[in-house]
Structure formats: C-alpha cells, structure tokens
C-alpha cells in the first residue's frame, strides 16, 4: 500500500521524526500483521478473532511502537510493560544517562522500575489505535446491504465511518500518535494501518475516566472528547493512497 505524507515531520520532546520513518514503521507493521495472520492460520487459529476487537487495537499499537522505535536512534520502547508513554524520547546524553538509572537490580537481574517509567519524566510518544466509530444505525445498513447483523473481525468498516476516537486507560496521554486502521479487503481481512494523526493533548481533551461496571468485562477507560478529536483530525501525518479512505476521512472532517 502506498501512503501520502501530510506533513514533513513531527517534533516531540527534542526528537524530530521524519514522516518517512513514521510511514516505514507503518509498512513494517502492516507486513508483520499479514505474516502473523498466515502463521496463526497454519495452525487453525484465527489470531485476530481470538484477540477480539477489544485487544486488536492494543496489539497493533504495540507492534507499531516496536517498529517505530527500532527505526530511530533517539526513540526507545518503554521497558516497563505498564510504562507510559509507550515510546520514550531520548534526544541527548542527559536523558540517555537518566534512562540507564530507571532500572533496579534484583537477584542479579536488571528490572525496569515502574515508578521511574510510569511516567518517564523526559516524555515520549503515546501510540494509540482506533478502527473508528460507526455511523448510527449501522446495523440496519449492514443487514440491508450485506445481510449480516453486526461487524465481524475481518469485515472492512470504512464505508460506515462516522468519526475517529481513541481510547485510553487514563487522561495523561499528551503527545499522541493516533493510528487509524481497518480490516483490509486486499489482505484477506487482516487489519492494516490506513492513516496516522499527531496531537498534543491535555487532560481537558479527554472524557472523565470510567471504571466500568462489575457486570461487564470493561476496563477503566476514557476517550477523547470533542476538542481532543478535533485536535487529532486537524493534524494528519499520513494517509493511505486509496480513494475510499481519503474520502471517508474527508467526510468526517479530516483536513487532508
């Protein structure tokens, strides 16, 4: 898939990230997802179905974070599994030396320190993924046009896109690279990243954190409010060179 760059670079905590590098990480992620799907299919296991919609976004974000950090010497993946942000900016020796101190030695092993990595005081980039919100009444449209009751894993949703929103477990995500993906018709329904946005957010751009309901399998979560969505949609970084996606994104107010 080819991509259109919407800006030259993004600048985060002293690190300049050329859009070519951001797109290269997208291409690596997309290729990895396709290979991963093939690998799991060989053993009769549909990875994305097993992961479920609830986890797919998180896994794509994790994979993308790894490839993004691997492509730039000033970026490092947060070594703590619960660390934040996801990718640390390490623009100079001072930060690099500090990062070395973010580990503790236990039983001869070097273990990442949660208190120093969640959050990391020198900042970095939070990576979040979304498949987008569907239009209201989409189930009726699905039944009418495709004879299905609801979306299933692998079914492209682009024609039902009504907005972009990103979810988080807290409101601390400030420098966010928000990815938009869809199940790709051209890749046997494997999820592929279609566009990316970069926004500098404050806690005011998120809704109040909800801690869920004991009757449902829901985590603590928050999502962008109207102002947060506007910030993200006003700052596209790249978009797939595909008319359907460009039009769908323009229709929801993305400035491409």
């Amino acid at each position: 898939m080819a991509y259109i760059a919407c800006c030259k670079e993004i600048s985060v905590y002293g690190v300049k990230l050329p859009v070519d590098e951001i797109i290269a990480a997208v291409e690596n992620t997309n290729e990895y997802l396709v290979r991963l799907n093939a690998l799991f299919s060989e053993i009769g296991f549909n990875l994305f179905t097993v992961l479920g919609q609830r986890n797919i976004s998180g896994v794509i974000g994790e994979i993308y974070s790894q490839f993004l950090a691997a492509g730039n010497k000033y970026l490092v993946n947060n070594p703590h599994p619960d660390g934040r942000p996801d990718v640390l900016c390490v623009p100079n020796k001072e930060v690099s030396e500090y990062l070395k101190t973010c580990f503790i030695s236990v039983g001869g092993k070097r273990i990442p320190s949660k208190s120093m990595l969640a959050p990391f005081k020198y900042g970095g980039i939070e990576i979040k993924c979304t498949i987008g919100d569907p239009v209201s009444g989409y189930k009726k449209l699905l039944r009418k046009k495709y004879k299905i009751d609801d979306f299933y894993i692998g079914f492209p949703r682009v024609e039902f896109l009504s907005n972009l929103n990103w979810w988080a477990h807290h409101t601390k995500s400030s420098h966010m690279l928000g990815l938009y993906y869809d199940f790709s018709e051209n890749h046997a329904g494997v999820p592929q990243i279609m566009a990316g946005f970069f926004g500098v957010l404050t806690e005011d751009n998120w809704t109040k954190v909800s801690t869920g309901n004991v009757e449902h399998k829901k985590t603590s979560n928050t999502s962008l409010n109207k102002t947060g969505k506007e910030i993200m949609k006003s700052h596209p970084v790249f978009v797939v060179n595909d008319k359907r996606y460009i039009e769908a994104l323009r229709n929801i107010g993305v400035r491409i």
Binding site: N28, L39, V50, G52, V106, T211, G212, H216, K217
Partner: protein
C-alpha cells in the same frame, strides 16, 4: 517434555464425558501450536509473545486451549460465541442442543441453559519484587496461591490451567478441574481502579484453589512443578 497424570477421573457433564486422554491431547496440541508460533515469530523481527500484553496473552492461551479441546472433542463442546458469555465451552451434543445453539442470541449465551465448562488460565501472580520479566520461567517466583480470575462468582465446572515459560516457550504446566465450586469459593467482584487495564473480576478463594488442587489432572514431570503442587511421585 513429559507430564504426570494425577487423576484417572473423567470430566462428566450431563451429556458428555471428557477423558483424561482427551484433556492431555488438547494440552499437547496447544503446546505444539505455541511452540510453532514462537519459533516462526523469532525468525521475524519481533517475537509476538513479547508484544502481546501479558494478561491478554494469558487469556489467549486459555482461548487456544478451549479451541483445541473443542477440536479434540469433535465439537461436542463449542466455544461460547459471546465475549460476555458463560460458560466458555458449551455442551452441544444432541440435535436438540445443536438446534438451540443456532437459535441463541446475546442474552441466551450469558448463562447457557445446557451448561458446559469454563476454561481459565493463570501464569501465577508474581511475588513482590520477583526479578522476572516477560518470557522468564516463573515457577519459584510466584505466590503459592494461584489466582484464577473470573468475571463473576457463579463460575463452576472449571477447567483451570496453570502455564509457565518452559525452555523459553509458553506451555501449559498443569491442569485442574472442579465441579464443586460455589460463589463462596470466589472473592467479591472487584471494579477496576482508575487507570488500570484490568476488567472487573473475581479472584478465586483459597477454598476454591483447594478444590481444584484435589482435582489436579496433569502436571509437568519436573521437580520444580511437582514440588510446588506437593505432588509425591511414587
């Protein structure tokens, strides 16, 4: 990798009996699947098992086992299609059950009238300050009590898996079953704390663990695991 069979008792539901051989075959196949994926992803730039969130991965292993057991049983148990459904594997033995299954919607899958079994996996809860990272063998660094989690306290007919990284690969290290769990064997349902990535959950009580321990079916034939579970090898 060898296992010791601890119990000869089958798992008996109203319309199906699952033999220890079938339980073991599902362990063997699940381990094989994960070994294959580990080997293949290691050839790529990124090991998928180092990327997936640990809680998600633990759940995936349970899902993979449930899927495999469904295959082994020739779909006499089928996976509950609802994410909020109970139990995880549904009895689907008679034509009547099969017809009913096809007619069900979200509400019916929440508490399936023909029942089945729940499948839950745990890697054990790390002791405070234990120096282990993703991919490290955990036995010796986890609490004695295994914390199987469910989303409510009604969970019974539980096939409980304990997994670990063994020779660098995720494997099912032991399997337990109990059909005598009551709500009192589960702790009060916890709401996730703000900022937490957990869902609402109930953790098994010590009493529930003891019931499962009495229903131990298989364990890796390795002193570290046999000792952890207090299994005496004759």
């Amino acid at each position: 990798m060898e296992y010791i069979q601890i119990s000869n008792r089958p798992i008996t539901l109203s319309h199906i009996s699952i033999t220890p051989d079938q339980i073991f075959e599902a362990i063997r196949r699940t381990n094989q699947k994960f070994a294959h994926i580990g080997i293949e992803t290691a050839k790529m730039a990124l090991d998928i098992f180092n990327v997936i969130d640990f809680r998600v991965f633990s759940g995936m292993l349970g899902e993979a086992y449930a899927t495999t057991l469904e295959e082994v049983l020739d779909h006499k148990l089928v996976k509950n299609p609802s994410i909020d459904g109970y139990p995880d594997l549904l009895q689907n033995v008679t034509p009547e059950m099969q017809k009913y299954f096809k007619s069900c919607g979200y509400e019916q899958f929440l508490d399936y009238k023909y029942g089945g079994i729940e499948v839950k996996n745990t890697f054990g809860t790390k002791k405070n300050g234990a120096p282990i990272l993703m991919g490290d063998q955990r036995i010796g660094y986890i609490n004695d009590k295994l914390d199987w989690k469910a989303h409510h306290r009604k969970t019974n007919h539980l096939l409980a898996l304990f997994s670990d990284y063994y020779n660098g690969r995720p494997v099912i290290a032991a399997v337990f079953y109990s059909d005598s769990l009551t709500p009192d064997d589960w702790q009060k349902v916890q709401r996730p704390k703000e900022g937490s990535t957990m869902t609402s959950f109930s953790t098994i009580e010590k009493s529930g663990c003891e019931k499962l321990r009495k229903g131990m079916m298989f364990c890796l034939n390795d002193p570290a695991y046999l000792e952890f579970f207090g299994v005496e090898v004759k």
